[in-house]
Amino acid sequence: MKVHLKIQRFDPEKEKSWMSEYDLELEPTDRVLDALNAVKWQQDGTLAYRRSCAHGICGSDAMRINGRNRLACKVLIQDVAPVIVIQPLLGLPVIKDLIVDMEGFFAKNRKVMPYLVNDDPLPADGRERLQSVADRARFDDTTQCILCAACTTSCPSFWANGEYIGPAAIVQAHRFIFDSRDQLTEERLNVLNDAMGVWRCRTAFNCVEACPREINITKAIAEVKNALVTGRV
């Protein structure tokens, strides 16, 4: 099928931005990433974007596709054609074309101490710590996060104030707060109990819509808020 692509460009060396337009012939089941590759490989080698696994796991190619944050490798052409507008994620500094500076995003992730802490002696039998099926299920949803930043950069609260820790970091915190094996609950909750923490979430649900892993992010944020209010996880 015929597709008309409009891609927002930025050349950091000339500090110039513009829209590039390309006409392509693609299969309806090709993905937007295939369209970008077709442009890069056949028409314009200067186009820059990140990509790796090309099937929705590595989280490299989050971008705005017709105004919505999506992974380019997970959107079929037939669902967005015939005119496809592609822009970089909003709210993070653009380095070049569709590539944004992720460092601030990862710094927020590090703030919630995204790692399991358990200082108890390891099981004497040398085996795994036990965890019930029900306890494991409590944080299953948030273990799926691939740190693609689609959620945080779709959030109006984040657009309004870049200091907001953002949904992705809260998802990471949730994954540990509700893990029965973890012992750093209070410290993590303290980080999030802040005007720039969970309380800046206005439940716009944009993050839920943006998440390519279909994590119920607003629910996770609500569970963290509830833990702060009740003092119980």
Binding site: T29, S52, I57, T143, D179
Partner: protein, 592 residues
């Protein structure tokens, strides 16, 4: 172009499972940095689905000896058995360590790590399938990658993200560091160090249909190969039987572990004919060949070049192919295989609970690579002489624990076991070794090559060369091979290498010049394609993933040995061979 020099005790190149595991170990003891051309969490380990094997015995009796036997048999006896013993003895401990780090494994009703069946994993030396694969739904690799990265954050490991390593500094048989480019601004960085560990993954982008990420371009292999280090067993490249038709995206063997079966155009579960005991859970090389044979005999779906992977509950229940012959429901399957079922829906537009899913074999895993010993030290000749300070672990390495064909789950086991051993060994070495001086102008080669690519006025487009290479390798150095086919591919690859000298890119800029890096990666792949074809042409037998129709039998008398291919001055290739280590399992006929 700005240039910088950094000094560390140890450098890890690559931030997938093996690299992060090594970095966690090494950085406890010596000043360590990790370079990665991607953000660490983008690494391909994250796409591994089905599980990581360990004989924990949480579901049913299991023993490391059974596991070692399966690994050796799965590798068609080309496995070094001392290494396989280490892999299988240390797997349980490494998996438990991951759990202690926080990995969210699925749990049994008793709260232990849940395990499932996987291809080629058997109880009691081949009697039938065993539940050995420790899992987190069908996203085990994602959990491993995330968990290791999380612990690296905790341990404040130093990362250089989006730094593309382009040269290994090897002088007089010793390591001096690596040269990398900061992708963000194009600056050149010399990392001066006592030890370097490569964990850059595989080279599946050599083939047209592949499960591999765009980034899997054999970087680590190619850059040590250019510095005179041999590559081992490059002719052994695994084609996974269940790639999504035409796209190659992997659908985990876990689908068959849960009871899924292959179906041909006649509606027949054809694996019953080829592998009466293990059926659809035979080894990957075996299943891939059977699919090709069905297609060749006209039993592909609609006469085309694919068959169905069928995971409909009614099919599984009809054949009683679920673990223990239990009845399964759609809901249980959705719970066990959420990601791959979603991929079937998103990418194929099929409803796997109601219809078969079109699949074809997809280039998946390099059994070969940089030769190492069991401490991940790189060894450079037939006598396993160690190149001091150089290490490799994970898919980039060839220990060899996978021999001629890797078992499902064993890539993850490999990277945690040998990533850990490599990280420890590297730290011990770096603690006592001296920092040797850098060669004069250490970045010269990289600087010149980049300038050549950036400024070339040649008429060859990288994408055209890449397409031709991928097609030649797919057609001629794939699941089935013959001498003339491989020779044909080799001739084409050599022509492409000539044409590569005139390759030109469009982007001449410094910042995020992905055009430039893609052209560089193509150069790596062409070198490795040549090494693969030369190795495959010489091996006149069929073993594991290397199936020569003109030499269809395994030949232990002449070929029970590892291939080493070395690139000499002027680019000529030399083949040599080294013996396979046999401890307690004598080669015998391989049946499933």
């Amino acid at each position: 172009m700005a240039e910088f020099i950094h000094t560390f005790d140890a450098i890890v190149v690559g931030a997938g499972g093996a690299g992060l595991m090594a970095a966690l170990q090494a950085s406890r003891h010596v000043k360590t940095a990790v370079l990665s051309k991607l953000y660490p969490t983008r690494s391909h380990t994250g796409t591994a689905q089905g599980g990581v094997a360990a004989p924990l015995g949480n579901m049913e009796e299991d023993r490391w000896e059974w596991y070692a036997y399966d690994t050796i048999k799965g590798g068609d006896y080309l496995v070094d058995q001392d290494a396989a013993e280490i892999l299988c003895r240390e797997a349980a401990d490494a998996v438990i360590e991951l759990e202690h780090m926080g990995l969210p494994f699925d749990r049994t009703p008793e709260g232990r790590i849940e395990q499932r069946r996987f291809g080629g994993h058997t109880r009691n030396f081949g009697e039938g399938p065993v539940m050995r694969s420790c899992k987190a739904a069908d996203r085990t690799g994602h959990m491993i990658l995330q968990t290791l990265y999380q612990q690296c954050i905790r341990q404040q490991v130093t990362f250089f993200d989006e730094y593309h390593a382009l040269d290994a500094l090897i002088v007089d048989g010793t390591v001096r560091g690596v040269v990398a480019v900061n992708v963000n601004d194009g600056s050149l960085h010399v990392f001066h160090s006592k030890a370097v560990l490569f964990a850059t993954g595989g080279s599946g982008r050599m083939w047209k249909i592949t499960s591999n990420a765009h980034s899997l371009t054999g970087d680590g292999m190619s850059l040590v190969y250019r510095r005179g280090v041999p590559l081992e067993d490059m002719e052994f490249f695994q084609f996974h039987p269940t790639g999504i038709y035409k796209m190659g995206i992997l659908l985990s063997e876990a689908a068959r572990g849960e009871g899924g079966v292959f179906i041909n155009d006649k509606g027949e579960r054809f694996m019953e004919r080829y592998a009466p005991t293990m059926k659809d859970l035979a080894s990957r090389d075996v299943c891939s060949r059977c699919i090709y044979l069905e297609v060749r005999e006209g039993r592909g779906i609609g006469g085309k070049d694919y068959v169905y992977l069928d995971i409909r509950p009614e099919t599984i229940n009809k054949y009683k192919s679920a673990p223990g012959g239990k009845t399964v429901t759609a809901e249980q399957l959705e719970h066990a295989l959420p990601d791959i079922i979603e991929m079937m829906r998103v990418y194929m537009g099929v409803e796997p609970m109601k219809e078969g899913v079109p699949i074809q074999p997809t280039a998946h895993y390099a059994m070969g690579g940089i030769p190492t010993n069991v401490n991940a030290e790189v060894v450079i000749d037939e006598k396993n002489k160690v190149l001091s300070g150089l290490y490799a672990a994970g898919e980039v390495a060839c220990v060899s624990v996978h021999g001629a064909n890797r078992l499902g789950t064993n890539s993850l086991v490999d990277l945690i076991v040998f990533g850990r051993r490599g990280g420890k060994a590297m730290a011990e070495y770096a603690k006592q070794a001296d920092l040797l001086p850098l060669p004069r102008d250490p970045a010269a080669y990289v600087r010149e090559e980049i300038a050549r690519l950036r400024e070339s006025k040649g008429g060859e487009k990288p994408v055209r060369l890449r397409d031709e290479m991928q097609q030649a390798m797919m057609d001629n150095v794939g699941v089935f091979r013959t001498g003339p086919m491989v020779q044909d591919a080799l001739t084409q690859v050599r022509e492409l290498k000539e044409r590569y000298k005139n390759v030109a890119i469009q982007d001449r800029s410094q910042r995020f010049n992905t055009d430039l890096f893609e052209a560089w990666e193509l150069g790596s792949l062409l070198d490795l394609a040549e090494a693969t074809a030369v190795s495959a042409l010489a091996r006149e037998e069929s073993r594991g993933a290397h199936y020569r129709e003109d030499f269809s039998k395994r030949d232990d008398v002449n070929w029970l040995k590892h291939t080493l291919v070395t690139r000499g001055e002027g680019g000529s290739l030399k083949l040599s061979y080294k013996p396979v280590v046999i401890t307690q399992w004598q080669p015998k006929e391989r049946k499933y």
